[in-house]
């Protein structure tokens, strides 16, 4: 029990931040609920109950939209046809599909942050990884599918890794700040993709838009459930596996130790004889490789073809995820599931209540703000008083 408690401790602030964000979000629903607000003068009780009803409907439909409708679940159990079963699990599988790229991008970001380098280029590495996988897949399209899958995944990892290596190398060699170089390389990556997709080799036949041939015609990551309109594929499992691998790498291997040491205190790492440049290059390359793998999984599993919209800002969301997760791999998974659920649940909410999807970005932003200001949460919920002013100093002295 104590072990579980210890493991959950770092999650306290993020969880309270999420709850607080939803509470604040409900005020936002309240003050934009003009139907009920306009009745406030004539029928205050009706207006208030009506407004509270809107909040309830909004959050409930978001929940159903993200996890599934209990009614449909019941129907699927009593009458297990493929159609009914698909209808029951579709929301939750969509949530998992939506969280898959977030997990990869989040892990990529976390590994760089842990190592003290700020890879803001996960977006570009993700997109370019997807592009690399696309090129490999199209070149090999007459080969057997397992081979295409394997080679294009590796191609995606390598392109992502290369795109991460460049800013790492530049920093180690010349001191060029990775924040600047990675942001710029994001633009370069987007242009490379646009340019590449205009070539006859890659472009979809008959299209003038920069979109690739439909990859799913000849290669597709196998689906986990063989049910109609369920998109969940094994890429999600690969994402979970990567979370385990990253955790193992960071905390159980020599190289991971080196990266963390350099990340926490580069001076001490240098004094202890570690190569600072080596750590930077390694961290950036691994970060890029994870992003590239995420891009390949997305293009080979979730979407039918490559285009410049392959990432809807995953690389940037990942920065928020890493913050929310405190750069812990398990936290990245949890936070990605949350963001994925918001994305998929929001659709149903919009349909049911007419509340715009923007509410979700509002809530996402609030979550991140509260996590970034843990003092605010501590004050709100009045806990963790040991951290009052001066306590740190006393503890320090007490250990003497």
């Amino acid at each position: 029990m104590r072990r579980v408690g210890r493991a959950l401790r770092p999650a306290v602030i993020p969880i309270l931040a999420v709850i607080t964000a939803f509470i604040v979000g409900s005020f936002f629903i309240l003050i934009t609920d003009f139907d009920n607000l306009s009745k406030l003068g004539k029928d205050p009780v009706g207006a208030i109950t009506g407004a509270l009803g809107t909040i309830g409907t909004a959050y409930y439909s978001m929940l159903i939209g993200a996890l599934g409708d209990p009614a449909k679940l019941g129907a699927a159990i009593s009458n297990p046809t493929p159609r009914a079963m698909a209808a029951a699990i579709r929301p939750i599988t969509e949530t998992l599909v939506a969280s898959t790229p977030l997990i990869f991008a989040g892990l990529a970001t976390a590994i760089s942050f842990r190592s003290g380098v700020f890879n803001i280029g996960v977006e570009g590495q993700f997109v370019l990884g997807a592009f690399g996988a696309t090129v490999a897949a199209i070149l090999l399209k007459d080969q057997p599918m397992p081979l295409i899958l394997l080679v294009s995944t590796i191609a995606g990892i390598l392109t992502g890794a290369a795109w991460g290596w460049i800013p790492g190398f530049l920093k180690a060699r010349t001191g060029a700040h990775e924040v600047i170089t990675t942001i710029m390389l994001n633009y370069v990556a987007a242009q490379i993709v646009l340019f590449g997709l205009r070539s006859d080799l890659l472009r979809k036949e008959g299209s003038s838009e920069p979109i690739s041939k439909v990859l799913s015609d000849f290669v597709r990551i196998p689906l986990i459930f063989n049910l109609p309109a369920i998109r969940l594929h094994w890429g999600f499992v690969v994402a979970l596996l990567m979370a385990v691998v990253v955790s193992w790498f960071l905390f159980k291997t020599t190289k991971g130790y080196e990266l963390r040491a350099a990340g926490f205190n580069l001076n001490a790492a240098r004094y202890a004889g570690m190569s600072a440049g080596g750590a930077i290059v390694l961290a950036m390359t691994l970060s890029g490789a994870l992003a590239g793998l995420g891009g390949s999984m997305e293009v080979l599993g979730t979407v039918p073809q490559m285009s410049n919209d392959i990432s809807s800002g995953y690389g940037f969301n990942a920065i928020a995820l890493a913050l929310l997760a405190g750069n812990r791999p398990a936290g990245i998974v949890a936070a990605s599931l949350l963001f994925g659920a918001l994305r998929t649940g929001g659709g149903l909410m919009q349909v049911k209540t007419g509340i715009p999807l923007d509410l979700l970005f509002f809530i996402q932003a609030l979550v991140i703000m509260f996590v970034a200001a843990p003092g605010l949460i501590r004050v709100l919920y009045r806990f963790d008083r040991t951290r009052g002013p001066g306590a740190e100093k006393v503890v320090e002295g007490g250990a003497a």
Binding site: Y271, V394, V395
Partner: protein
């Protein structure tokens, strides 16, 4: 004014920081408040300055009970604090820095009345012999003068009670003497001074009365004429402390470290080490004395491979290491205790166990085919914690939360646990309490007696004279003198440090 603190108790979660502490100081008296790190000195002073509220007990000024809700009220009651870390805006000039927050204003919109302020700053500076140029920029002033600006700040706010928190920590021996002169002047003019320190000599020299704190309690109050260093150290630590470094005569062997006409540049590309030559033999301790910033830092970094050498040569154990990497130097058997342990010696956000393997993590048995051997690491940490008496709740505690002395023990334990031929220790006892200093010195002497060559860089004259078998003095990037232990006296070394004959 007469200040009295009566039965002050302050509890933090898990710690009784102040346990019924009573101190008092008469008008114009200097009270020395002595105690190790964590004895409760800072908590007590934070209560006096209105930052903390005591759980019980009272503050009396001239016999009248006072309660401070915030620091402003304490300032209004005439209490002035000079913190160890100065609270000055670097780009301000002295007048601006002194008046900040208590500006005199003039005219309808309340413009800053610089003329009046400047006049008063000059007056105070002259009255108390502070010798501060009112128009100098803070960032251009040496540390000692900045401290006098802090004192000016308190006086400007009409403080009758002045609290100085570890004021000598940043000063050269000469500046410390000057400060003592100023303190005596202030006291003679009627200011009550509370002088917080962990240095025994200082309270004996400047205080009228000494109160010693230990673990949140008053361990004793003595008059300087009745006290000796030994008595005070005993009160502070709670046991007898060996203040002299116990060591037999050195028996120097072969040359281990040989430096030939070394030139090294600092971060700003200025030449910081200008032609240093030095030999250190096995079985001897060479103490390198000098005021901070005379090239010692760069010299040490060059020896251990962290800074590239402009010209000259370094040999360790006969091998040319002029261009070697830090890891190669450390593999030759060099233990390095860096000057700033929190910045360079430890990773505060990693555990004690992880810090013990900072230099050996890539070797057997800690690393097996690329993965860490948790069992070996834990065993290693447990042994080191035991052997070096590191006081830590567990080996999984973050190193950053240990006290300074225990952090230094972690560094020393790590560095001395490899086969050592050469020890390079920079300011190894800076900021440590008496007990830890004794301990670290003993370990250094042990290394010497085991046949290692030891270089200790220090700005503390006491330390240099106590541990050095030979004393080298560095000034302006050069070694200006090497004295045999017997001929190294306080006066001679101090004079060479200051550039005298």
């Amino acid at each position: 004014m007469r200040l009295e603190l009566k039965d002050i108790t302050k509890r933090f979660p898990g710690v009784l920081a102040n346990d019924r502490i009573s101190i008092s100081a008469d008008r114009g008296a200097v009270l020395g408040l002595l105690g190790e790190n964590g004895a409760g000195k800072s908590t007590l002073m934070n209560i006096l300055s209105g930052l903390y509220k005591p759980d019980s007990g009272e503050i009396l000024i001239d016999g009248e009970r006072r309660v401070f809700v915030d620091p402003r009220q304490a300032i209004e009651a005439g209490i002035g604090m000079v913190h160890q870390h100065f609270q000055l805006v670097p780009v301000f000039d002295v007048v601006e820095a002194v008046t900040l927050g208590a500006e005199s204003v003039t005219g309808p919109v309340g413009t800053f009345d610089r003329k009046t302020a400047r006049r008063r700053v000059v007056e105070l500076s002259e009255q108390y012999n502070l010798n501060v140029n009112p128009d100098a920029k803070i960032e251009d002033l040496p540390v000692g003068v900045r401290q006098r600006v802090e004192i000016l700040k308190a006086l400007y706010r009409k403080s009758d009670i002045l609290v100085l928190d570890e004021p000598s920590a940043v000063l050269t021996p000469f500046e410390t003497e000057e400060l003592f002169g100023i303190i005596r002047g202030l006291a003679a003019a009627g200011t009550t001074v509370i002088f917080i320190t962990h240095k025994l000599n200082e309270v004996l020299e400047v205080a009228d009365q000494i109160t010693v704190l230990r673990r949140g309690r008053v361990a004793g109050t003595v008059l300087p004429k009745d006290a000796t260093r030994e008595i005070l150290a005993n009160l502070m630590v709670g046991r007898d402390v060996e203040l002299k470094v116990v060591k037999g005569p050195a028996s120097p062997g072969d040359v281990v470290l040989s430096i030939r006409d070394l030139h090294v540049r600092d971060d700003r590309e200025h030449m910081a080490v200008k032609g240093v030559s030095l030999d250190i033999r096995a079985g001897e301790i060479v103490a390198l004395a000098g005021v901070q910033g005379n090239g010692q830092t760069e010299l040490v970094e060059a020896i251990v491979g962290l800074r590239s050498v402009d010209a000259g040569e370094i040999f360790i154990d006969g091998q040319d290491t002029t261009a070697s990497s830090p890891r190669h130097v450390s593999d030759l058997g060099v233990a390095h205790v860096p000057e700033d342990r929190m910045r360079d010696g430890l990773i505060g956000a990693m555990t004690v166990a992880e810090n013990f393997i900072l230099d050996t993590y890539h070797r057997e048995p800690y690393s097996r085919r690329g993965s860490l051997n948790a069992k070996a690491i834990a065993e290693r940490a447990a042994t080191a914690v035991q052997d070096y008496d590191v006081r830590t709740p567990s080996i999984d505690t973050f190193a950053g939360s240990l006290s300074g002395g225990n952090q230094q023990k972690v560094v020393v334990a790590r560095e001395f646990s490899r086969p050592v031929k050469l020890v390079i220790a920079a300011q190894p006892t800076r900021g440590l309490d008496v007990g830890s200093i004794e301990y670290i010195h003993r370990r250094m002497v042990e290394q010497r007696d085991a046949g290692a060559a030891v270089l200790i860089v220090s700005t503390e004259l006491d330390e240099v004279l106590a541990v050095g078998d030979r004393v080298a003095i560095m000034l302006g990037g050069k070694i200006v003198g090497i004295l045999e232990g017997a001929e190294a006296t306080y006066e001679k070394v101090g004079m060479l440090m200051g550039g005298g004959e």
